[in-house]
Structures are given as structure tokens and as C-alpha cells.
């Protein structure tokens, strides 16, 4: 599997991650090489194998529906990049 420039641009957009223009070719090569390594999986017959979702085959534990967390808004907002009136600020979304 070989990826080109436009594949990298598409993947980076899906990941909402800017990549430097001059690094795109490098990523295309690196990712193609990694997919080359991964392609070794193709030789294995797995039609009758069940996928392993959990190393210990455990089911997800449930807990009682009780409030266990205390409100720590101030602590959490103290480490935020930008807050105002108890709200996290981002660029305007709705005109």
C-alpha cells in the first residue's frame, strides 16, 4: 500500500492536524513504509478467528449510578488556554 501527497492531506484533515507543507512527501514515504510492514498480516488466513477485543476477555464493568465527582470547575479552568465568565473560549462558530 503506497500513499501519496493527497492521501496524507486527506488523513491529516481527518485527524484535524496541520502538517508542514515540506514534510508531506516525507510522511507519505514513512507511512507507506509502515503500511508495508503491516501488510505482512495479509498472508494470514483469519476467516475463522474471532477478533480479540480485550486481552483478558473481560466484560466492561458497570457501576452504581451515583454522583461520585465533586465540582472542581475552578481547578480545571485554571489550566485552560482561554476562559471567560466560567466558559471555555474558542473562535466564533455561529455568525
Amino acid at each position: 500500500m503506497s500513499l501519496d501527497r493527497s492521501d496524507i492531506e486527506k488523513i491529516a484533515h481527518l485527524a484535524r492536524m496541520a502538517v508542514d507543507e515540506d514534510r508531506i512527501e516525507g510522511y507519505a514515504t514513512d507511512l507507506s513504509n509502515i503500511l508495508g510492514l503491516v501488510a505482512q498480516m495479509d498472508d494470514v488466513e483469519t476467516d475463522d478467528v474471532t477478533p480479540m477485543a480485550h486481552p483478558l476477555h473481560m466484560a466492561q464493568r458497570l457501576r452504581v449510578d451515583e454522583v461520585t465527582e465533586v465540582n472542581r470547575r475552578e481547578d480545571f479552568q485554571a489550566i485552560a488556554p482561554k476562559v471567560e465568565s466560567d466558559l471555555y473560549l474558542v473562535p466564533k462558530v455561529i455568525e
Binding site: 500513499l3 492521501d7 496524507i8 488523513i11 491529516a12 481527518l14 485527524a15 484535524r16 492536524m17 496541520a18 502538517v19 508542514d20 514534510r23 510522511y27 514513512d30 507511512l31 513504509n33 509502515i34 503500511l35 508495508g36 510492514l37 503491516v38 501488510a39 505482512q40 498480516m41 495479509d42 494470514v44 483469519t46 478467528v49 474471532t50 477478533p51 480479540m52 477485543a53 480485550h54 486481552p55 483478558l56 473481560m58 466492561q60 464493568r61 457501576r63 472542581r72 481547578d75 480545571f76 485554571a78 489550566i79 485552560a80 488556554p81 482561554k82 471555555y88 474558542v90 473562535p91 466564533k92 462558530v93
Partner: protein, 483 residues
């Protein structure tokens, strides 16, 4: 003082030979004079340390001390520490002061440890050389032109250089065992679910597991005892009884069945490393163990499978870093998409970006079956290999890494070559099994690690097998020059 183990120092503290404050000052002084050349620590916390040491001394004089009370350790910077910067080796979290403690940190603090600081690591634990850290590479104390391994490279190097008595690490594909091997220390990755992942910054959630990095198996048992156990705050924490990990350390190995997977001794293994592992196997024969050859036929598929599962889970986990609630935010975003894209593009380093992109691709529409589902199926086959092996043997033994530590920069530009360094360690993560690396005879002055893999929740057996070797050999006591 710094050459002593947890057990020895604990006895000295409780006998009043020295105080925890004295011990802590001694290590802080060593960090001051030695760490500049090694770069093991991202953050040193002298105030936090001395405060904890004073509290420990009070506990000791009140007769309320446990085996770890007053012992100076380092926390890998992947563990959240309340009020202390928790960077995970990334620019993304360079300004992140954690508002809470990880369960591992909470438990070790309750046991009375003294945290000297936060250990350097590969960015978000993605790397095998510590070269992907935003804070620069860690140097191997045995040869400063070589890497310490990764991702817990800072933890391994600082334990080897005696800049703390022990450290915590995490292991997703070998990140405790590989650096432990390359730095000549003892490292244990417990069974998946044994140690809580709460507050341990997530990389690949079905593989990540925290564990101790120490200078002996005896110390690893003491650390694991404090770190392990069920935690309701981690939804994958195992509800398994916690044994006394130190109780069986001296059990006889007479009749123990050790399996050597023939796939771990093939042409990829350096001849010197193979000879060191053979020498340790000979010691086990003398201790009464029976050594048999076994086969783990799907070993060659571990690395390819891992490089689907780990990046897929990482791309999902790291989507939380969006520049909105905490962490790095870009300057002057023009709209919300620009805020996400540039904050992530500028906050993450090269290797993290590569893995996020591989994972995003593998999980994107139309590719899920060919990659993630296929990998999860092969993971089952790899796990079945071990299941069959443990029907014949008690522990699996082999090398931890194919070679000794490689040079700084030597593999940094070629991700695939770097990935193959974890060829012997990854399978245990995919299967969820406990694994350990123990120092054996060095090759040309560089440490070599012996790997032991045990059955589920059988860490006590691994510790016993490692401890018995350390009772009849001195390889684990070797220290790098100048340390």
C-alpha cells in the same frame, strides 16, 4: 548510600542510621551534579521531595513506616501528579499542571515514597530510544553516545545512574523492558489490568500498563506491591486478589519448566546478546530448572499487528488534545478548525503525528476490516500461541532486545527499523501477559536484558525466577562508570 536497594535503605531508615531528609538531599545533590549530562529528569521537585521526606521521617519515628516509606523515587512524566507539571514528554502538555494524582502516584505517596521528580520519556510514550521527547534525548549512562531505550528511557537511565532508588514506567510495546535491558536494570510490566491506568496518560488503552523499574527483583516486588490492585476508577482494572509479591522470592526453582521460544533465538539476534542469555540459562539449569524449546509460531506478526492496534487506539485517545480545555493552543486561530489543526500540528512532534495518521487511516471508512479487525484477529492467534506454551512450561525466557543500546541518531530517521527493536517485547502486550527484563552479562561494556514472560497474574513467579538468578549472579549490581 546511592548503591543501596530499597530493602537495604528501608532497614537503615527504620534503624535510625540516617533520615529520609538526609537520603533525599543526597539524591538531589546527585541529580544536580550528574543529570545535566544525562537529561533523565524533565522536572526536579526538591520542595515536594523534602516535604515528603520530613513526613516520612515522622512516620518512621512514630513506628508507622512501610517498606517504601522515605525512599526517593522518580515518577515517569506520563503519570499525573497534582500541582506538578505533567508533560508526557510533549510540547502539547508543556504547560499542564495536573489537577489530580494518578492512582499509582496516590498509592505510592500513601506508602510514603519521596518523589524526586518527573522522568523524561518519548513523547506520549511513542518511541524506543527517548529521542522523540520534546525535552531532548536521554543519554545512556553506560555510554553517552548511545540511547537509553524508550519510552521509559529517563526512568531506566536514572535508576542505572543512581539518581533515584527506583522509578515508575509504563509499557505499551516494551517501554519498561526494552529501556531496562539497555540500561542494565530490572523492569516489570505486569499483567494488563493489574496496575490502574487512572491518571496514566493514555496511548493505546488495550495495551498500556504501568510497572516498576528498579535495581533488583526484590525491589520490584516492593514497588509492585504498592502500585498494584483493583481500582474502580479504571474500567479495565482487574478484580484479582493481590498476592504478597515478596513472599515467594526465595522459592526453589527445582523442577521449574522454562520454555525457550525458538523464534526468539533466530538470525535477528546479536551473537553477543545470545551468549549472555545462554549464560543465564546455564545458571537456571544449575538452580534445578528444566529448560525446553517451545514455539510461538506467530511471533513475526507481533510488530505488524502492533503497528495497527497501537496507532489506531492512539489516534482515538489523542483526539482529546484539541487546544480547548487544557494543553497547547496555537496563536490567533482564525476559526475553530484552524484552532484544532494548528494546536495539534504545533503541539505534537513527528513520531506522534506519524502514529496518529497511521491510526486515522486504519480506522477510516472502508479500511477498518483490512486493518484493525484483521489485527485484532491476529492478536488472538498470538495470544493462543502463549496459551499453548503455558500448558507446557511455567515461564517463557528469551532476550529482551535483539542488540545492546544503539547510537543516538542511528535509527531516528527510519521508523520501521526503530519499530523492529521491540520485536521480542510486543507480543506480551498484545496477549496482556506479564513480562520482565533482568540484567545479564554485558557485551562490550553495554548491558543486556533477559526477558521472562509469565502466565496471567503470575508476576510473583516472574519475580521469584528473577530473584533467584540475582542471588547467584552479580550482573544486576554493575554500575556505569562515574555513577
Amino acid at each position: 548510600m546511592h548503591n543501596k536497594t530499597i530493602a537495604e535503605l528501608g532497614a537503615g531508615l527504620r534503624a535510625g542510621e540516617f533520615s529520609s531528609v538526609e537520603l533525599t538531599r543526597h539524591f538531589l545533590k546527585r541529580i544536580d551534579s550528574l543529570d545535566e549530562g544525562l537529561n533523565c529528569y524533565i522536572t526536579v521537585t526538591p520542595d515536594v521531595a523534602l516535604q515528603a521526606a520530613e513526613a516520612a521521617d515522622q512516620r518512621i519515628s512514630a513506628g508507622d513506616a512501610g517498606p517504601l516509606t522515605g525512599i526517593p523515587i522518580a515518577q515517569k512524566d506520563i503519570f499525573c501528579t497534582q500541582g506538578v507539571k505533567t508533560s508526557c514528554g510533549s510540547r502539547m502538555l508543556d504547560s499542564f499542571i495536573s489537577p489530580y494524582d494518578a492512582t499509582v502516584v496516590e498509592r505510592l505517596n500513601a506508602a510514603g515514597v519521596v518523589m524526586l521528580g518527573k522522568a523524561n520519556m518519548d513523547e506520549f510514550a511513542m518511541g524506543s530510544s527517548n529521542e522523540t521527547s520534546f525535552y531532548g534525548p536521554v543519554r545512556n549512562p553506560w555510554d553517552r553516545e548511545r540511547v537509553p531505550g524508550g519510552s521509559s528511557g529517563g526512568s531506566a537511565a536514572l535508576v542505572a545512574a543512581r539518581l533515584a532508588v527506583a522509578a515508575t514506567g509504563t509499557d505499551t510495546g516494551g517501554s519498561i523492558r526494552q529501556p531496562a535491558a539497555l540500561c542494565g536494570i530490572t523492569g516489570l510490566k505486569p499483567t494488563y489490568g493489574r496496575v490502574s491506568r487512572y491518571g496514566m496518560i493514555a496511548f493505546a488503552s488495550s495495551l498500556d500498563q504501568g510497572g516498576p523499574m528498579t535495581r533488583s527483583a526484590e525491589d520490584a516486588a516492593l514497588m509492585l506491591q504498592a502500585m498494584a490492585g483493583f481500582d474502580p476508577r479504571d474500567s479495565t482494572s482487574a478484580e484479582e486478589p493481590l498476592p504478597d509479591f515478596s513472599a515467594g522470592l526465595n522459592d526453589s526453582l527445582q523442577g521449574l519448566k522454562i520454555g525457550l521460544p525458538k523464534e526468539y533465538f533466530d538470525e535477528g539476534l546479536d551473537a553477543g546478546v545470545a551468549a549472555s542469555v545462554e549464560a543465564a540459562i546455564e545458571e537456571y539449569r544449575k538452580l534445578g530448572a528444566e529448560v525446553v524449546e517451545i514455539s510461538l509460531p506467530n511471533t513475526h506478526l507481533a510488530v505488524p499487528t502492533y503497528y495497527v492496534v497501537a496507532p489506531a487506539e492512539c489516534s482515538s485517545n489523542l483526539s482529546r488534545f484539541d487546544g480547548v480545555r487544557y494543553g497547547y493552543r496555537c496563536e490567533d486561530p482564525k476559526d475553530l478548525e484552524d484552532l484544532y489543526k494548528r494546536s495539534r500540528g504545533e503541539g505534537f512532534g513527528e513520531e506522534v503525528k506519524r502514529r496518529i495518521m497511521i491510526g486515522t487511516y486504519a480506522l477510516s471508512a472502508g479500511y477498518y476490516d483490512a486493518y484493525y479487525l484483521k489485527a485484532q484477529k491476529i492478536r488472538h492467534l498470538i495470544s493462543d500461541d502463549f496459551k499453548a506454551a503455558f500448558e507446557q512450561v511455567d515461564v517463557v525466557l528469551g532476550p529482551s532486545t535483539p542488540t545492546t543500546a544503539f547510537g543516538l541518531g542511528e535509527k531516528a530517521d527510519d521508523p520501521v527499523t526503530m519499530y523492529l527493536n521491540d520485536i521480542y517485547t510486543i507480543a506480551a502486550n498484545l496477549a496482556g501477559l506479564p513480562g520482565m527484563s533482568v540484567p545479564v552479562e554485558p557485551v562490550e561494556g553495554m548491558p543486556v536484558g533477559l526477558q521472562l514472560i509469565g502466565n496471567y497474574f503470575d508476576e510473583a513467579k516472574l519475580l521469584n525466577v528473577a530473584h533467584k538468578l540475582q542471588q547467584v549472579t552479580d550482573w544486576h549490581k554493575l554500575a556505569p562508570e562515574g555513577c
